[in-house]
Symmetry: C2
Subunit: 737 residues, 2 copies
């Protein structure tokens, strides 16, 4: 690891002059200054405005214990600049797993200490400027005048330069499983209501112009801009609210549920038509407060990525770089994992998580499971699990996920049940000792499943026992779930306390050498750098929605620009039988071609990749399944060859510890022709190339399972022209000879 | 144990006829019937009305998951009677500890199954009628039409017969440390605001006529009536709201925060002037809901005790009898305990819980305690604790409580700190191994202290480690504390979830053979019968308030009628140096005489009795301290000889396992003369009698420490006339010769 730090301390006069900091190559420039005592920044890329002058600050809430120092004085204005420190940083670090084995973290930094003379409080606003974007955060040093405080809301502005095209999800405190909307910024309000996933079990939208991050945008002049956050620790998750011409009106309409900072209105606070400014909006707790803070502390990094090349949005390591280095001493037990599981047949509705239909409702301590009447639909039974273990062993899959193994699934969701699962008691037909032994004898591990039903206190009460059970039987990975509304009632999935809970689980799991893949949890912000046992998350609309009516064909060529910015997603690709009605009563169908499913193993980076389909379906498409057998799950190098949000993504990745490459291409409903130059291969070396391509007449709806497998030998400089069907893609394995 | 059960099943015609059930001796009679389809009861005592016709029922809340069976149809009206079952019960049981070694549980029961034809729901209302009062509860059998439900509020009415005198605390979701008010029911509204303890760190009042239970009343014709609840498990704590002539107006004034059931107003729903009806008001969660229920389940018992003799209010076992039998297999490790502790000097302000004043605030994982600068005021240090151990050993006290032993006290309260304590790390000057060894070598145990600062999730995360630490060092009792507002924010001390938390702690502690004494927790409802390791609670204004400005002299002759109905209180008596300024800068003074403090060991029953004063103060009053050395903490028999709420209480108790008796008398600011006939002594036996009495001119304010100790030999039938000074009392030990 190389590390270069040099700091330049500039004790500048306390004037409202602008302080400029440029990225290492000079493309990205930030200016920071006080606008009538309000902290303000602006950002350019190659001389073009990216963020127009935007205010920074936080509104604090008055606490009844204000006499003890928890006053409500806002950290919005009244500031003078005490000092400004600039510095540079350049290091290269190695992630435990990832898209690349080496990641360069190179930036210039500006840290402005601001003093609010009326309160004697000081805060620091720190900017890190990279060649592909910026991160900035608020820091609150320990001080007599600011020891504890409550956040009413953070008021970080991102003033966009025009009516960009945006790929957005409606801002929601509890779910991010919506369909991505592609509209102009000016169209968000009009589209908002229909964008909400009202069918989800926990929906909590807050504004007609509220959107989630990571928010991908494109300007009319071809700039790709992405707003997100990094290292969200002990802080509520940030949403964005667009302050447009109608917001003032909206504020009144919503009965004072305002997200506009108006205690001391200035003409500049009221946006003019044609001005598109996002303001941060944090997730509240049950009382509406956004955070309880104790100094010294800091906000997460607020990030703005920018480039004139869409590929840079995907290859950027800005979010990871803004996170802290690995906090675990020993990471030898963490490993990328390919797995299958007893799951898809339940999602599709062919079998069930629950064991019995005998009881109107379940109280865990009052059921004699041994004598309970089997419903005959329970999937997590010994025979079936052994079948999956055999399948995994035969096909080189590392693990077998089994959902529905533990008692409580009879009435687990949306009933406000506190004591919903105990996470340690198997159903009578799941012999936990036998099955783990059987798996281990075949070189396979079972993967644990902890659905919490969002009953958080209950999960924490049982967590130590649950992790101990995993250790006893040799599980080293858990998929956890947070379906439904949070218990304690009133809390939200993305609040400060819930964010602390998710991280608590990850830290406790690390003590047990357990990897965590939390579904329905908060969207990631790069914390997997610090806690690399956080190997996955869902936190978006996963493949399961293909069984719930389907996702749009462009969905998977949006996700890498948005959800995946913060960390890998357990999307669960690999459903080769795209027509569910061929083996179930479910009329839904997958909105990709079969080959499109193969491509996802390369285009949707994750250290955790499921082969989600049923073994019998894989056996029917065994030649195509060969790609899933072959594809790596950890990489030494990744090169994004083509990219356009919601249109197509083409990426080449080198399998870690080998000289083999894999290339994936995925496109939207319009199809795409990829022209690849194999420049990335080693010079003078030959590669055995297997191409999995859509057949000529393939189509995600009308002919999804038409594919052609071609083998040839290739070398550096060769060109490949690959036609991707509507909703299709391609997958290539390149084995060094 | 003797148990007689005989049941009489009466499948009565489904008419609106009244179903009567009488107490075993016929004094108490309940009538139950439907009033236009609303469940209704009334109660008499010796033919006099106690509760006038009062409706029963619950309002349910509509949940967004209503389609799954959580509809909002109220359980208020629309009922028919399906069947009525009456039965009788008579058994005598033995508590692990208590005021008596045998308790008779003898009642007649009526269980009415009510059917709501429009919803196909059924509930049961069960009455148990004792000679000294009634208990009734709602039962919700498991059924398709009522599987899960949310409680908007319970609407149990208690229609009083007149403008009774009441001893009440303002209804509050978080504290019951107020000064008791003595007013007519009609005066509650006018007194309410000044009755609220606004200085308490968590105040949450809900109505100008809201009061807490147990509520003691006295009618103009001499009936003593007490309303409380028993066996509050998985349910929110009940308050009472007086519906008087102004309530309808108030409802409008409070902006719809109504506690009156008005969806279908009937003339009878609007009380007339001169009608005094209490309606139940449950403690809400953060969203305002009062409970999340899953059938089969039940409400706590709602109790109405009644007698024309005030002594019956104190000798009643109705609340204990309505609780379930002991749930612990092994109770051999549970023992009544007399203790002293490093506590009073901190309460008074002479020393401190915290170790250092060096830091503006504390983050537990960021402080090097070994090098932290001592403030010199930290009480829980090795030398002082050894001094207390020596004192306990010398004087036959079982345990020494030490507060402030663990890191985090620097900024523990009211800062919304989640990670406030870890409950396992001692301050550097508290050698936990050495001190426990030292104590054990002298036959004394240390008593653990867990102040949670109401950060509940944090406590639960550390609880197992904390209990394990106690086991490792030989602690078998913990005083826990819940100062300040509950974290998660928005929850309340007396909510369903917090009630579940307290019981969770008690159950987990039992697994570790640990006794629990929770302060600032919910007021008890007799659960110590079921979990006898729950040896104490505070849940009222304790002796500590004598250092915070003082309590009224009548306070301790009210508590047995109110707070103590649900279970013992760790009042911490025994402050013999009533003038704190003699040894500290605290100008406050104790509102009893010295002898009055001795009396409390007998009049305020508890299996846990502290000798709260400093060793050096006891050494100054060693002859009086002899009573504290001698007095028992567990009893085979208790006889209330005299009682009048807020005036005086005189009680004789026989020490368990001996033939010795102790008698205590306590009075209010007016003094009292007790005339005792020693009828309870064994016939023909002589007793060495030591009388600790107020001196002739003693007075709680002007001459508190004037006392006379008299020794004589007495026998059955002897009479004693004892003059109690204003704010005074007496204490007598009777040793069988």
């Amino acid at each position: 690891m190389k590390r270069i730090i040099f700091a330049l301390i500039t004790l500048l006069p306390l004037l409202a002059m602008a302080h400029e900091v440029k990225s290492p190559n000079g493309n990205v420039v930030v200016n920071f200054y006080l606008d009538s005592s309000r902290p303000t920044y602006e950002m350019t890329y190659k001389g073009r405005a990216v963020v127009k002058p935007s205010h920074l600050g936080l509104e604090l809430a008055k606490d009844k214990h204000a006499s003890k120092g928890m006053g409500e004085t806002h950290l919005m204005d009244g500031f003078v600049i005490k000092d400004v420190v600039t510095s540079s940083f350049d290091e290269t670090w190695q992630p435990v797993w990832g898209e690349n084995s080496d990641i360069r973290n190179c930036y210039n930094e500006l840290a402005a200490t601001l003093r609010q003379p009326s309160t004697e409080r000081e805060i620091i606003i720190r900017f890190r400027v990279y060649d592909d974007g910026i991160g900035f955060r608020y820091e609150f040093p320990q001080q007599e005048a600011l020891n504890y405080f409550l956040i009413k809301d953070e008021r970080t502005e991102f003033a966009m330069t025009g009516d960009h095209t945006a790929w957005w999800l409606p801002g929601d405190y509890d779910t991010q499983e919506q369909v991505t909307q592609q509209t102009r910024l000016s169209e968000i309000r009009g589209r908002h209501k229909q964008a909400v996933n009202w069918g989800n079990s926990s929906v909590a939208v807050f504004s007609e112009t509220g959107v989630q991050t990571s928010l991908q945008m494109k300007s009319d002049d071809g700039l790709y801009i992405n707003i997100h956050e990094a290292a969200c620790v002990d802080y509520a998750t940030m949403h964005l609210e667009l302050v447009d011409a109608q917001t003032t009106h909206l504020t009144q309409k919503l009965g004072g549920n305002s997200n506009v900072y108006t205690p001391d209105p200035q003409p500049s606070d009221f946006p003019l038509p044609g001005v598109f400014t996002f303001v941060s909006h944090l997730t509240p707790d049950a009382t509406g407060l956004k955070g309880a803070m104790q100094t010294p502390c800091k906000s997460p990094w607020r990030t703005v990525m920018v480039s004139d090349d869409a590929r840079d949005m995907l290859s950027s390591n800005l979010i990871l770089n803004l996170n802290e280095p690995c906090a675990l001493d020993d990471t030898s037990w963490i490993h990328p994992t390919k797995y299958c599981g007893v799951w898809w047949e339940m999602i599709v509705g062919k079998s069930a998580w629950n064991y019995t239909d005998e009881f109107p409702s379940i109280k865990l301590d009052q059921i004699d499971w041994a004598t309970a009447k089997r419903n005959g639909r329970h999937a997590a039974n010994n025979d079936k699990v052994k079948r999956y273990i055999d399948f995994a062993a035969k096909n080189g899959l590392d693990q077998v996920l089994v959902e529905g193994w533990n008692v409580g699934w009879e009435d687990w969701a949306n009933m406000w049940k506190a004591d919903v699962f105990d996470f340690v008691t198997p159903y009578p037909d799941f012999d936990i000792a036998m099955l783990n032994e059987y798996a281990h004898s075949k070189g396979v591990k079972l993967m644990m499943h902890h659905e919490t039903s969002s009953s958080v206190m209950n999960y924490e009460r049982h967590m130590e026992d649950a992790y101990n059970l995993m250790n006893r039987y040799g599980y080293d990975a858990v998929k956890s779930g947070y379906v439904g509304d949070i218990i304690p009632r009133g809390d939200h999935h993305f609040s400060q306390s819930m964010n602390n809970h998710y991280l608590y689980c990850v830290k406790q799991a690390a003590k047990h050498h357990i990897m965590v893949n939390a579904h329905e949890a908060v969207r990631p912000t790069g914390l997997c750098r610090t806690y690399p046992n956080m190997v996955g998350n869902e936190s978006a609309r996963g493949q399961e929605y293909e069984a719930f009516g389907g996702s749009n064909p462009d969905h998977t060529v949006i996700l890498p620009f948005t959800r995946l910015q913060g960390g890998p997603m357990d999307y669960t690709p690999g459903v080769l039988e795209t027509q569910l009605s061929t083996w179930s009563d479910n009329p839904s169908w997958v909105r990709t071609t079969l080959v499109g499913q193969l491509a996802l193993y390369v285009t949707l980076y994750s250290p955790l990749q499921m082969a989600a389909d049923l073994p019998e379906n894989y056996e029917r498409f065994d030649d195509a399944f060969q790609f899933i057998r072959d594809v790596a799950v950890d990489w030494s190098k990744s090169i994004y060859l083509e990219a356009e949000p919601a249109d197509y993504i083409t990426v080449a990745r080198k399998a870690k510890g080998t000289d083999n490459w894999f290339v994936g291409g995925k496109c939207d409903e319009n199809g795409h022709t990829a022209e690849l130059k194999l420049d990335f291969l080693d010079k003078g070396r030959k590669y055995e190339c297997v191409i999995y391509a859509d057949a000529k007449n393939a189509h995600y709806e009308f002919n999804p399972k038409a594919y052609v497998i071609t083998r040839k030998t290739v070398k550096q400089g060769d060109k490949l022209k690959l036609k991707e069907a509507p909703g299709g893609g391609f997958a290539i394995s390149l084995k060094a000879l």
